[in-house]
Each structure stands twice: as structure tokens, then as C-alpha cells.
């Protein structure tokens, strides 16, 4: 079901975002705790990195379909791809 794909993507996005956010947060916290003397910037950095990664992932995920086409088209045009 193609309509469910988006939902699945969003699910993944969310899940990924949550994970990444959490991981980033976690790592940030960890790093902040560990390395950066409970500053907030590694948490925010981590969460932000996490969120940003999630966002990028999500976007990439959502774009993947179009990029594939582009790559194919490029390949097709240049004929240098395998």
C-alpha cells in the first residue's frame, strides 16, 4: 500500500527522531555529565544533533524516492555509472 508508506516513513521518522533525540540527549547528558561538567550545551548539542540527524534522516527517507530517480537519471545521462 503506497499510502501506508508515508505513514511508515513518518513512523520511522518519529521513531528515528525519538531514538536519535534520545540518544543524542543521552549522549549529551552523558557527555555533559562526563565530559562537560553538566553543561547543557552537550545535551542540547546531542539532542540537537540527534534531532538534526533524525530530521535529516527523515528528510532523506522521504526524499529517497526522488533521489533514486535523480541518480538513475544522472547515470542515465552520463552513462558512467555501472
Amino acid at each position: 500500500m503506497s499510502e501506508k508508506e508515508l505513514g511508515k516513513k513518518w513512523d520511522r521518522c518519529l521513531a528515528d527522531g525519538v531514538i536519535k533525540l534520545g540518544t543524542g540527549l543521552g549522549l549529551g547528558i552523558v557527555f555533559s555529565v562526563l565530559f562537560f561538567k553538566r553543561r547543557t550545551w552537550p545535551i542540547s548539542l546531542g539532542s540537537g544533533a540527534g534531532l538534526g540527524m533524525a530530521y535529516a534522516n527523515c528528510q532523506n527517507n522521504l526524499r529517497s524516492h526522488y533521489l533514486q530517480h535523480r541518480i538513475e537519471a544522472v547515470c542515465f545521462r552520463t552513462a558512467s555509472c555501472w
Binding site: E3, E5, Y55, C58, L62, R63, Y66, R70
Partner: protein, 727 residues
């Protein structure tokens, strides 16, 4: 008629008067009178001529039957008229002439059998009658016809010219062989009967006459014997010098012999008369037999005659013997009488001389005296003288006496000779006649034999000739008959061929017709069968298509229908043409294996999809970041369009907006037009398109399947409709 003529004449007179009144009427009257008289004269003349013609015809037809026949043949109803006037047909005119002819014939000819030739002659008579005479003469009275038949038979013996003159139409027939043989047989039979009777009579008479003759002969012999004995005895008595006892016995014997002789002679005469009667009877019988002229009896007659002759001869011989014996006896008796007379005279003389001496003087030798002796001697001398004188006289008259005696004897001899000669002549004549008859008989036989041989020769020649002629005729007839036969056969053959050809043609036509019909029937049946088959197939197809469409309908709310494989298989199985099979194979694989979604489910799904498509309406290749996502989400939240909007017939550029498209599509969906909805949905681009891709394929699938199914069903319906017979 005269009045009419007169009126006509007056009318013409009036007309003429009107035309030219100047001319005097008198002349017209004269003219009219002359005209009328002339007309009447003409009429009278005509009547006289006609009457004379008719009368002349009648008279002449009465006289000449041929003319009458010709008239009757040529002029219709003349036979009725002539019959009225003259009486029935001329067949009877021939009868009196034939009767005369018949009378000339011997009666034996009329006794011939009439039955066999009668039928033939009837036919020939009928033919002759039909050929020549009128119809009324076809039924002559039967006795006349029988007489006719007889007369016809008589014709064969009567003059041919007469018959030709009288009966020109009737042909002369040869008497059939059986008739001839019958006649001959009858003749033979009659002859045999006659012969039998004759022979019996002859035999009887012969026997009786023979008996009588034999009796007569016997009697004559007896008489002869008696006579001879008597004469002998007499002679002995006369000449012998015996003692008196013996003499008396002799005389007694003589008397006995005489009595015997007389009896025998009487007996002989009676038997002779009887024999003569019998012979006369035989003669009369023979004459009668001769009179009947039966050829076969001739030898019998001859034999009888010979016998008669023989008997007569014997009888005559015996009679002559008897007569001679009698004559001798007469002589002897005369002699004895003379002697007796002389003796008696002597006795008388002696007695006159010596009255005492007995007659028997020979024994008296011692009793006589001398006187007596002398007297006796003298007497004896006297007697001797007398006797000498008588002797001299006798000697003198000897010649005369001898001549007289001779004369007498001659006369007697003549008589006897005549008698003998006549009898001998008669006998000889008889003998000669008999010989002649015998010779005649032999000659006749010889002649008969010769005639037979000649006839045989003639017959042989005739048969040869006839055979030759017959051969020639046979050949000719055969050739003719063969020709006729051939021509007839040819005709028959051609006709037969024609008929057979016709028959064949008819048969062929019939056969062709039947064959054509059969063919037609077969074709009809085949076409019926084919039609039924096709109908069945169509039904089957329809059923399968119905099954398929039902299978289509089996789609649940969210689940696809059952896989259409089986139904499609069934459809494919019941497909018998390319179109159908092409259609059946045009079903998409997905629908076959997985089934298709129903429209309702698609509609429901679309409704769900719609919001999603609205949300991602902004996303496409170029805009596909998250921010765009957010923006499209915002757009979807903020933009309101009609839930359902009827799509226009032509989509313009502005209509390609996703929201519009979706509303159009949902409108279409709501109105059951999945195809248009799918088309509209197909116009979506970008992410919305990606989102509805599956739905679109499903819709496409469904649409395809539905299209195929509808085509199939239409086709099945069409096929089914096509196979149903028009009423």
C-alpha cells in the same frame, strides 16, 4: 314452297313496279308467272331427279350386294335406310346357292365333325363379314351358319369357280389334317364294319352251303353207291346162275338195294336241292357283297366264289356221276326188263307149251317128259329160228338200228354233251372268271402297289418340292420376321432406353432432390447442432462470465475478491474463439492470482487516501523537504474545497490542482465512475501521486478486470443472443 316462290315473285314484281312504273305490268306478270312456273318446274325436276336417284340406288343395291355394301360404307345412315327398304344384309343371299352345292355332295361329306372347323370358320366368317358385309349381318341365325360351314366344307369338293363366284370374300381353306384322318378313320371303320358283316355273312353262307353241299355230295355218293350197288346186284342177278334160294335172297337184296337206291336217290335229290338253295343263297350274298364294292372284301369274295365254284363243280361232278350211274342203272334196268320180259315171254311160251313146268327151268332136268322136251326143243328151235331171223333182221337193220341208236345216242350224247359242255363251260367260265378276278385282284394289288409307289414318289417329290418351297419361304419369312423383329427390338430398345433414361433421370432428380434435402436437413441439423453447440458454448461462456462477474462481486469490504484464476480458467475453457480467449487472457495477472477490490472498497480507500493526498499535495521532486511537508500539511489544513465537485468534460490547467482533482475524483467515485476518478487521480503529480499509486494500480486493475468482464459478458450476451433463434 310454290306459294313462297309466288310471293317472292310478287315481291319482285312490286319492286320492279316501284322502280319503273312505265313498263306494263303484264310483262311482269308474264315474267312472274314464267318465273314461278320456271321455279316450280325446277323444283319438280329436282324432286324427280332426287327420287329417281334414290330409287335407282335402292334397286341397284338390292340387285348388287357389293354396291349396297359400298353405299353403306360411304354414305352414313344409308345402312339403316337400306335395311328398312330392302331388309337385312346380303349374307343370306349366298345361302341358296350354297345349298344347291351342298345337295350335289354325297351325304357322307355332311357327316363330318363340325365342331373343330366351326370355331375357325366362325372367326373367318366374322372377319369376312366385317370386311365386306354390313354390321347387321354379323349375327346370322346359327343353322344358316352351320349350313354355311357345311357348305364351306363342301366347297373343297365342289367347283372352286362356283365358290369363287359366290363367296368372293371367304377364303378357301385346306381341310385340316385331323378332319381328313378322321374321315379316313371313319371310312376305314365303316369299311371294316361292312367287311366284318360281309365276311360274317359270307362265312355263314359258305359254311351253310358247304355243309349242305357236303351233305348233298355225301348223299349223292351214297346214292351213287346205292345205284351202283343196285345195278351191280341187278347185273349179278341177271347174269349169275345161282340156285333159287340165293336167287331169292339176291332178289330180296336187290329189292332192298332198290329201296335203298330210291331212298338214297330221294335223299340225294332233297339234299341237292338244299345244297342248290344254299349255293344260291351264297351266290346272292356274294352278289350283294360285290354290290357293296368294298375293296378289302374282294379276296373274301373271290375265295367265297371259288369255294362256291368248287362246291358247284363237286356237286355237278357227283350229280353227273350219279346220273351216269343212273343211266347205267337205267340201261341195266332196261336190260333187266328186257331180260325179264324175254324170260317171261319164254316162260309163257314154255308155260304155254308145258304148263306144268315151273319157271325155273334150269333145275328141271329130269322132270321133263320127252314130249315136253321135244316140244321144248321144237319151241327152242322155233325160237332159235325166230331169233336167227330176228338176228338176221337185226343184222340187216343193225346198221339202221345202230345208226338210229347212234343217232339217239348222238342226240343223247349231244344232250349230255351240251349239258356237260354247258356245265363245263359254266365251270370253265366260272373258273376263268375266278381266275380273271384273281388276276384282277392281283393286278389291282400290283397296280395299287405301283400306284402307291408312284404316289409315294409323287408324295416324296411333292414333299421335296414343298420342302424347298418351304425352305425358301422360311428363309424369306425369317428374313422378314428378323427384320421386323429387329426393328421392333430396336424400337423397344430405344423405348426401353428412353424409359430407363427417363427413369434414371427421374430417379437422379429424385435422388438429387432427396440428397439435397438430406443435405439441407443435415446442414440444418448440423447448423442446429452447431447452433446448439454455440448456444451451449455461449451459455457456458455466459455462465462462466457470470461466474467471473460474481467472483468479482465476491470482494469484501476491504479484502479483494477471490482469485479470478478459476473463473478465468473456466472462461478460457468455455472460450472458443480468439476474441474471447484474447479477452480471457487479457485479464491482469494480479486479478487472477489475488483478485480485485471492489469499487466500494476502493471508494472507501480513496476517502482515506484523499486526506493523505491532500496533505502531501505540495511535495514533488523539487519540493520534498520536511519543511515542504509541513507546508503541505498546513495547506491541507487550511485549504477547503468542495468535497465533491463534478468534473468538467475537459480539464483545463487550473483543474490539475490536486485538491480539485481529488474532489472531482471523489465526486466521480461517489457517482460510481471509477474510471474517470482513476483518470483524474492519474493527473496527480509528485508525492500525492506516489501516495495514491497503489490505489491507482488497484483501481486500474479493477477497471481492467471490470472492463474485461464487461466485454466478456457483452460478448457472451451477444453470442447468446446470436445463438437464440429468432421466432
Amino acid at each position: 314452297m310454290l306459294g313462297v316462290c309466288l310471293r317472292g315473285a310478287h315481291a319482285t314484281v312490286r319492286k320492279n313496279c316501284v322502280r319503273s312504273p312505265l313498263t306494263p305490268l303484264q310483262s311482269y306478270r308474264c315474267y312472274s308467272t314464267s318465273r314461278s312456273s320456271g321455279a316450280s318446274r325446277v323444283v319438280a325436276l329436282g324432286l324427280v331427279t332426287v327420287g329417281g336417284g334414290v330409287g335407282g340406288t335402292l334397286l341397284y343395291s338390292k340387285w348388287d350386294p357389293k354396291f349396297r355394301a359400298a353405299v353403306e360404307k360411304n354414305v352414313p345412315y344409308s345402312d339403316w335406310l337400306l335395311g328398312l327398304a330392302l331388309g337385312p344384309a346380303p349374307e343370306d343371299a349366298r345361302l341358296p346357292v350354297r345349298k344347291q352345292v351342298e345337295l350335289n355332295q354325297p351325304p357322307s361329306m355332311l357327316d363330318k365333325p363340325k365342331t373343330d372347323p366351326k370355331a375357325k370358320s366362325q372367326k373367318s366368317v366374322k372377319e369376312a363379314a366385317e370386311a365386306s358385309g354390313p354390321e347387321s349381318s354379323l349375327v346370322p341365325p346359327p343353322p344358316a351358319q352351320s349350313i354355311q360351314d357345311e357348305c364351306k366344307e363342301c366347297h373343297k369338293h365342289a367347283d372352286v369357280s362356283e365358290t369363287a363366284a359366290v363367296a368372293s370374300a371367304e377364303p378357301l381353306k385346306e381341310r385340316p389334317v385331323d378332319e381328313v384322318t378322321a374321315r379316313l378313320v371313319q371310312q376305314d371303320q365303316e369299311e371294316e364294319k361292312l367287311l366284318a358283316s360281309l365276311s360274317s355273312r359270307l362265312e355263314d353262307s359258305l359254311a351253310s352251303s358247304a355243309k349242305a353241299t357236303l351233305q348233298a355230295i355225301g348223299a349223292q355218293e351214297v346214292a351213287l353207291q346205292a345205284v351202283t350197288q343196285h345195278t351191280r346186284k341187278l347185273k349179278d342177278a341177271m347174269e349169275a346162275e345161282a340156285p333159287s334160294d340165293e336167287k331169292s335172297t339176291q332178289w330180296k337184296e336187290l329189292e332192298a338195294a332198290l329201296a335203298e337206291r330210291t331212298a338214297a336217290v330221294k335223299d340225294a335229290t332233297t339234299t341237292l336241292s338244299k345244297a342248290n338253295e344254299a349255293l344260291e343263297g351264297l351266290k346272292s350274298v356274294i352278289n350283294q357283297a360285290k354290290g357293296q364294292k368294298v375293296a378289302a372284301a374282294r379276296p373274301l369274295i373271290l375265295a367265297a366264289e371259288e369255294n362256291l365254284h368248287q362246291m358247284v363243280v363237286d356237286l355237278d361232278k357227283v350229280v353227273s356221276k350219279v346220273r351216269s350211274a343212273e343211266s347205267e342203272a337205267k340201261v341195266v334196268s332196261q336190260y333187266t326188263e328186257l331180260v325179264n320180259e324175254a324170260k317171261q315171254q319164254f316162260q309163257r311160251e314154255v308155260s304155254s307149251l308145258t304148263p306144268e313146268i315151273q319157271a325155273n327151268w334150269k333145275g328141271l332136268t329130269g322132270k321133263l317128259s320127252v314130249d315136253d322136251l321135244n316140244a321144248l326143243i321144237a319151241h327152242a328151235h322155233r325160237r332159235i329160228d325166230q331169233l336167227n331171223r330176228e338176228l338176221a333182221e337185226q343184222r340187216v337193220r343193225e346198221q339202221i338200228h345202230i345208226e338210229a341208236a347212234l343217232e339217239q345216242q348222238k342226240v343223247e350224247d349231244h344232250k349230255v354233251l351240251d349239258a356237260a359242255v354247258t356245265t363245263a363251260m359254266g365251270h370253265v367260265k366260272e373258273e376263268a372268271r375266278l381266275n380273271l378276278e384273281q388276276k384282277l385282284a392281283e393286278l389291282r394289288e400290283v397296280m395299287e402297289a405301283e400306284m402307291r409307289t408312284q404316289l409315294r414318289r409323287q408324295a416324296a417329290a411333292h414333299t421335296d418340292h414343298v420342302r424347298d418351297v418351304l425352305k425358301v419361304q422360311e428363309q424369306e419369312l425369317r428374313a422378314e420376321a428378323e427384320q421386323v423383329l429387329n426393328s421392333k427390338i430396336l424400337d423397344q430398345e430405344t423405348r426401353y432406353r428412353q424409359l430407363t433414361q427417363e427413369q434414371l433421370d427421374n430417379f437422379t432428380l429424385d435422388m438429387n432432390a432427396a440428397y439435397a434435402r438430406l443435405k439441407g436437413i443435415e446442414e440444418a441439423i448440423d447448423s442446429h447442432a452447431v447452433a446448439e453447440e454455440t448456444a451451449r458454448e455461449a451459455h457456458q461462456l455466459w455462465l462462466s462470465v457470470e461466474a467471473l462477474s460474481y467472483a468479482l462481486k465476491s470482494a469484501g469490504a476491504d479484502s479483494p475478491s477471490m482469485p479470478l484464476e478459476d473463473a478465468a480458467e473456466a472462461v478460457r475453457a468455455s472460450c472458443h474463439d480468439d476474441f474471447c480467449s484474447a479477452l480471457a487472457s487479457a485479464l491482469p495477472q494480479e486479478s487472477l492470482q489475488r483478485g480485485v477490490y471492489s469499487e466500494a472498497s476502493l471508494r472507501a480507500r480513496f476517502n482515506a487516501l484523499r486526506s493523505l493526498a491532500r496533505r502531501v499535495a505540495l511535495i514533488d521532486e523539487s519540493r520534498n523537504s520536511l519543511y515542504q511537508y509541513f507546508l503541505s500539511y498546513l495547506q491541507a489544513a487550511l485549504l477547503f474545497e468542495d468535497q465533491q465537485e463534478a468534473p468538467p468534460s475537459q480539464l483545463s490547467g487550473a483543474d490539475l490542482d490536486p485538491f480539485k482533482l481529488l474532489s472531482y475524483a471523489s465526486y466521480c467515485l461517489e457517482h460510481g465512475d471509477l474510471e474517470l476518478a482513476a483518470k483524474l487521480v492519474n493527473q496527480l503529480r509528485g508525492e500525492a501521486r506516489r501516495v495514491v499509486e497503489d490505489w491507482l494500480t488497484e483501481a486500474r486493475l479493477t477497471l481492467e478486470t471490470r472492463q474485461v468482464v464487461s466485454l466478456l459478458s457483452a460478448y457472451a450476451n451477444a453470442a447468446g443472443l446470436g445463438t437464440t433463434q429468432a421466432p
